[in-house]
Symmetry: D3
Subunit: 192 residues, 6 copies
Amino acid sequence: MGLAQFLYAARKLNNIGRWASDFMHIRASVSEHSFFVTQVAQMLGMIEEEHGNSVNWEKLYKKALNHDVVEAFTGDILSNVKNMTPKMKTAVDDIENMIADELLFSKMEPPYRDMYRDMIFDGKDESLEGQILRYSDNIDAMLECLTETKLGNNPPFKKKYSEIREKLKKSPLTSVQFFIEKVLPEYEELLE
Amino acid sequence: MGLAQFLYAARKLNNIGRWASDFMHIRASVSEHSFFVTQVAQMLGMIEEEHGNSVNWEKLYKKALNHDVVEAFTGDILSNVKNMTPKMKTAVDDIENMIADELLFSKMEPPYRDMYRDMIFDGKDESLEGQILRYSDNIDAMLECLTETKLGNNPPFKKKYSEIREKLKKSPLTSVQFFIEKVLPEYEELLE
Amino acid sequence: MGLAQFLYAARKLNNIGRWASDFMHIRASVSEHSFFVTQVAQMLGMIEEEHGNSVNWEKLYKKALNHDVVEAFTGDILSNVKNMTPKMKTAVDDIENMIADELLFSKMEPPYRDMYRDMIFDGKDESLEGQILRYSDNIDAMLECLTETKLGNNPPFKKKYSEIREKLKKSPLTSVQFFIEKVLPEYEELLE
Amino acid sequence: MGLAQFLYAARKLNNIGRWASDFMHIRASVSEHSFFVTQVAQMLGMIEEEHGNSVNWEKLYKKALNHDVVEAFTGDILSNVKNMTPKMKTAVDDIENMIADELLFSKMEPPYRDMYRDMIFDGKDESLEGQILRYSDNIDAMLECLTETKLGNNPPFKKKYSEIREKLKKSPLTSVQFFIEKVLPEYEELLE
Amino acid sequence: MGLAQFLYAARKLNNIGRWASDFMHIRASVSEHSFFVTQVAQMLGMIEEEHGNSVNWEKLYKKALNHDVVEAFTGDILSNVKNMTPKMKTAVDDIENMIADELLFSKMEPPYRDMYRDMIFDGKDESLEGQILRYSDNIDAMLECLTETKLGNNPPFKKKYSEIREKLKKSPLTSVQFFIEKVLPEYEELLE
Amino acid sequence: MGLAQFLYAARKLNNIGRWASDFMHIRASVSEHSFFVTQVAQMLGMIEEEHGNSVNWEKLYKKALNHDVVEAFTGDILSNVKNMTPKMKTAVDDIENMIADELLFSKMEPPYRDMYRDMIFDGKDESLEGQILRYSDNIDAMLECLTETKLGNNPPFKKKYSEIREKLKKSPLTSVQFFIEKVLPEYEELLE
């Protein structure tokens, strides 16, 4: 069948820590990251709707919940490495596809195989939901960096915090602007 | 605003371990539990649809993702204690409502307050989605017990595993029957 | 017999962390808390005697050592929740009594049952020893908050530290006044 | 004053793990060990009194609670090393006395210095209370070994479990015989 | 200068766990792995010399100690992924070289840059020392798998243990044959 | 044979934490310490050679890698205790020798016994390599103290950092002076 293999892979995300090689006071597992990214995506979606934009909720939740399941096979580090050059991104994407085919989908029957393949790849497309996922992923990383910095763990988190915040400020999404202007200052206050 | 308080509460679920007082080889945080319950709910939903039943996906994801956020204020233990007698369940439900009002919603503006209040309470109602959530919560607990038992940690997990499996066998849901008959044996094999 | 059940319960206190939902640099288990509260109670007792007050040492040690054994069944969180309103305190006390009867004392023979029941309930009465226990519990919490604050972990520990210290300053006990004036400043210095 | 130094030393016992160099599924801190040894001593004392022997409770609690405070300065390992030969025991005892004088008592005023010095040294004398402490220390170690063995962690815990049980069987104390015959089998059952 | 960057990178190996996505009772850091691989290499070297083969010790130690320093930048997972296909191995090797140049060597002055570059790349060449390193890396992994299996953690460690042992049996090195025949059975006995 | 016993002892260094009784944000195991000391020794050796001094690399690596293996039997604490007085140093040295003979070398055949005995004792002699080991051990401790201090964990690490740095400044070795003047400031910058 292969459905058990999918759940077993999702469970393995508990064993994988984020930001592999840096010391952290609070290291989140990839499961915890996935939970929180989905929470942020849910909040951005609610804000979008309050501002008159329509959200495909099924699509948004599917993208957010499953966007890092493939890390069960490749680990968290690749996502950092992959952003170094376009060539690396291609190489890593290829590796992820090959591994998921070999270890996960080869054992899974349709129609589940097709549904799950859609869910775990290409989450960050240019649809509103794809963009919300991408920025939610960034917001989670930014809040992690902020928390480490407030706890006195500066390198490399202080610098990364500023970089991500600057990047988010340039986002065209209403909900991201709302988050940076209204939610982030409140969150920062809670950590002081 | 109060939105930051909600995210901050969700983040606290990383700090709370499940099954508070028993030794576990692998202790999941409430965030990891919430992630996995949502994964199981997603799978049961897909199975329901494959068998011709229609699922409200937005409702299902909202119920599953947020069903334990209130534990940020009350801890995980109450959910165990609350099942001892109906009187206790009422007392604990009252406590949870009072605390969430006091610590979370008092600071949040409408319409977010109303939306979030719906999401974090009364998730396990008698709709199909409410039932899927309740059984997904059970399935997660069952798989945790199974894993501990396979790792040689018998009390109290061996007994609890059998109890939950028996309970699930009596479920009227197609997807739960499918899970017990087709997915569980495969999952067990992966642990051997 | 039931004596093994009591020891087994006491052992479970190793698995339960204090301050469940907040991040801590140093999280004490309930066993470690019980050990330290008994150390503080012993010190306050010595100070009381040095100032001419007589202490019933058997009573003091029994109260301090066993005051949180019931948390093996209810977890640490209830003690925080219970202080919200008098109604909640009553509800939680009821729950603790029912659970201890069900899971612990039903299997224990007299006279041990009666002796242990006295030890694990009603420790914080208005006798000198009961008051010493209550303030020792506070002092342990205050020193935990102080330690977190010194390590740069401010919320919620900085605020709680001040609250507890103010509360202790109002204590009528000679030993508590002595502690705040003579011991606390020295302890603070050791953390700098 | 020096009282803060004593509490600070007691707190450090949270940082020291027992059985330093062997892998354990559940490693207790020296604080947790001290708490549990005092629980066992309390139980043995109750059993002694039920069998007509009189216990000096103040003396028993003081011995049990404080018997390992000196490990804050010397670590847990010395207690293992010290039993190799009588010459080593003398050397280690000398070291412990010198260190406690240097780091703890030199700063403490009488009468606290004298009271604390009595409490942390020579606990395991030949009085009934001294013997109860020695056997309680053994019982804690035996139950730790038993727990590891039940969890599948055999070397060196399986062998040590048998050795300690045999040693306890030869104890002249009524309460120890009662523990081995009545309490231990029940405890073992709880782990199966 | 860049020498501090090298030490800082080596220190980061403490933060990276081996076998990223599988649960382990005992997870070694990459530093601990590097230490142990160097210990095994030292033993194999001693055995080779006892059997009349000459070892270049400087070369052997340099290869073994530094063989995983690059994982400070790429994480442990790549070493698993890289063995899937030759194409992947090439891609990963390219990535490692680019990252080390960018993050480490660009800041380091000659002659240290050249010496360190030699040490962290191409360790597993076909010289006797390169072969000893490759087999020492395998022996460490085999002993980790053996330990997990003895502790009751079977998948995937039981199967991997057999695979690696079979692979080692085919090694042409005298010291590896000696290890499998003489040392491994003794080691296995120590775990029983 | 006894070779397995040696590896098994080296493996136990993973279980032993450094600086036993003080809280640390980042506690290194003795394996991690040994790895890093060997890295520092390698760097000092390279610097010595760049300044025209000749290094016996085989000797240096053997000293550094194996200098704490004996702690598998005696724990980390003795090395701290032993520096209190010359009499204590002698007593601890005696203990270490007796234990290593009893538990390790009694089972090992020559010539391995003689080679290993040389490696694990008397590493810090007055040869250039012995001095490099001694200072590398100090440098590792200094960098650990520096890291804790930068993370806000002052006592006792701030004071120890200054003490060790002052001691190193008095070293006659070229490489140590180079390290303090050129490498340490860069390392400090990386932590800010």
